[in-house]
Structures are given as structure tokens and as C-alpha cells.
């Protein structure tokens, strides 16, 4: 059978990829996609622990993560649209009006 470690390491790898994406990409939609990668890495860890401990709570938590991801995507993309309407770009470095 597959040891728990493997799932945890896979989760860590995906999480790091998400973090890297969040810091290196400049397109705001790509940033949101990176956040989704991180959320998924966490979901995998939740499910792996739930399976290993024999408790369902971990899987219930994934449900709540899904809701948060959905809410984040809905509001985040609405902001993206508003930003594109005003600035004609999605590069987060060029949306610097609030910077001093």
C-alpha cells in the first residue's frame, strides 16, 4: 500500500509550486490559478489524513475548502474584470495606483 508520506510529500510539492506561481507570475488570473493549486495541495493532505486516521472530518473540511475556493474565484474574477475595465491590463505590477 502507499504510505501516508507519499501523499504528504506530493501535497508539499504541489503547494510549493503554487507558492512559486503566486510570487513569480504577474498576470492576476495566473495568481488566482496558483491559489487554486495551493488549495488543492491542502485538500490532498486533508483527505490523506482522513483516510489514514479513519475519520471523516478531513473530508468534510475539503467541502468547506471547496466553498471558499468558489467564493474566492467568484469575487476574485469580478475584481479582475473591474481592474481590466479600468486599467486595460492584468499585470499586477502595473496596477500601482494605490502605491505611494
Amino acid at each position: 500500500m502507499i504510505p501516508l508520506n507519499w501523499y504528504l510529500i506530493l501535497g508539499a510539492v504541489l503547494f510549493v509550486i503554487g507558492v512559486l506561481g503566486f510570487f513569480l507570475k504577474r498576470n492576476i488570473i495566473a495568481l488566482l490559478l496558483s491559489v487554486e493549486i495551493m488549495l488543492n495541495a491542502v485538500n490532498l493532505t486533508f483527505v490523506a489524513f482522513s483516510s489514514q486516521r479513519g475519520q471523516i472530518s478531513g473530508q468534510v473540511f475539503v467541502f468547506f475548502v471547496l466553498v471558499v475556493a468558489a467564493a474566492e474565484a467568484a469575487v476574485g474574477l469580478a475584481l479582475v474584470i473591474a481592474m481590466y475595465r479600468n486599467r486595460e491590463t492584468l499585470n499586477v505590477d502595473r496596477s500601482n495606483l494605490l502605491k505611494w
Binding site: F63, L66, V67, A70, A71, A73, A74, L77, A78, I81
Partner: protein, 119 residues
């Protein structure tokens, strides 16, 4: 439990194989006789004008966003419906509370005019 998913994997391989092979077959067997007119985008025989990459109305975004949020609600309804007999009247009031909140959002969206396509 995993055993019940094994046939799905086999079926997936079969179906994907069929799809990929039929694309390759038509590429191999079909005649190839291209000319610039044939490869131009179809605009009812007129000369193609302008670009196809125009922006769409934000209404499409609103539809997808409403779909996403109501889909989340539907996802909660499935496990609820499956265990409903055990929960009984208690489960009913739980879900009334949940749906009431969603319904408030629905009414808000309706009043805001996000469901109108004419304007």
C-alpha cells in the same frame, strides 16, 4: 471499492483510444487539397473582416458566477438528500435556513437586474 473503479479506467482507455484513433484516421485517409480561400474563417462567403477576438458582454460572467455559487449549494444538497431520512424534521429546518440565505442572494441578484438579458 477501488475494484468498482477499475472498469471505469478500462472504459476511459477504450473511449480515448477511439477518439484519438478517429482523429488520426481522418487525418491519414482524408484528401488534402488546401487553398487559402478554403482555410479562411467562414463568413458566409464574404471576405473575412476584422478580428474574431472581440470582448463579450459581462453578462456571460454573471451567468457563470451565479452557476458556480448555486452549484455549490446543489453539492451540499446531495449528501443532505442521501441522509435525509435519518435527520428527519431537524434536517428540514437545517436546510430551510441554508436555502433561505441562498434565496436572499437570489432575490438580490434578481432585483439588481443581473438576470435580465434585454438591457
Amino acid at each position: 471499492m477501488l475494484q468498482s473503479w477499475a472498469p471505469i479506467l478500462a472504459f476511459l482507455i477504450l473511449v480515448s483510444g477511439f477518439a484519438v484513433v478517429s482523429v488520426i484516421m481522418s487525418y491519414v485517409l482524408g484528401v488534402k487539397n488546401p487553398n487559402p480561400r478554403k482555410l479562411a474563417p467562414y463568413e458566409c462567403g464574404m471576405q473575412p473582416t476584422g478580428t474574431a477576438r472581440e470582448r463579450f458582454s459581462v453578462k456571460f460572467y454573471l451567468v457563470a458566477m451565479l452557476f458556480l455559487l448555486f452549484d455549490i449549494e446543489a453539492v451540499f444538497l446531495f449528501p443532505w438528500a442521501v441522509v435525509y431520512r435519518d435527520l428527519g424534521l431537524f434536517g428540514f429546518f437545517e436546510m430551510v435556513l441554508f436555502i433561505a440565505a441562498i434565496l436572499a442572494g437570489y432575490i438580490y441578484v434578481w432585483k439588481k437586474g443581473a438576470l435580465e438579458w434585454e438591457r
